[in-house]
Symmetry: C2
């Protein structure tokens, strides 16, 4: 785990907020090289598939020209939802490092722990709570602003 | 439920098989109008995100210019995986009609029943087993051919 990559994911989340998107960012790393970055673009793309993790996975696959992302790790500011946890499993990512826990939709330890299910054909490692306060503060500020 | 839409999804699956992709197809319908179609393109796209359901959702969002697919139903030849079940929930699709059950990765009744989880903010209805034998036969023929 390299906390600098979570800081880069946080930068992506900040950019998302500037675009009036729920601030979530993701970075995919192989060795010490960044192979994919992503930010939530659900509103801009008008498609609920376009979470930060999906964008980062698509970028990494394009970069490697391969759907197997074996040995790659993902850093994401919010606990992945079912869709993103599933995409990470399907892409054979090695490890998930996430920031804030998601009480409402988190599927990497909160509501479910999909990546740890032995019935699936791949099981990424999971570590949550990295720079969690900073990641959560971005979300709180965003939704606080919306309510005002 | 209109079985003709499952037949169209099966046509998409057949096309996928011709392209040497695992044969899964999907159709999204609003009222009696098709608003999105998709087929598995994981190998061609070199990205594990590109399942039939994701392609169909992206097409439907583009068509409606909206990430909310309220009132839309999806017909898919294979039970959705975690990623696709999550994408269907996130997109607020009303109902899932699927063909064959997926013992290894199905998350709409087999390993999990994610769409029915009351903790999520949307719960699509689910009906499985529609033209299941025909949908499963396509998969068996595909994997049987691979083994030979």
């Amino acid at each position: 785990m390299n906390i600098d990559f979570m800081r880069l994911a946080i930068e992506q989340a900040r950019e998302a907020a500037k675009n009036d998107e729920v601030p979530v960012g993701a970075v995919i790393v192989m060795g010490n090289e960044i192979i994919g970055i992503g930010q939530n673009r659900k509103e801009a793309s008008k498609c609920a598939v376009h979470h930060a993790e999906i964008e980062a996975i698509e970028a990494a696959c394009t970069r490697l020209d391969n759907w197997h992302l074996d040995g790659a790790d993902i850093y994401v500011t919010l606990e992945p939802c079912a869709m993103c946890a599933g995409a990470i499993i399907n892409s054979r990512i090695r490890h998930i490092y996430f920031g804030a826990y998601d009480k409402k939709a988190g599927c990497c330890g909160t509501l479910y722990n999909l990546p740890s299910d032995k019935r699936f054909n791949h099981r990424p490692g999971v570590e949550g709570g990295i720079l969690a306060e900073e990641c959560a503060a971005l979300l709180s500020a965003f939704f606080g602003g919306k309510r005002r």
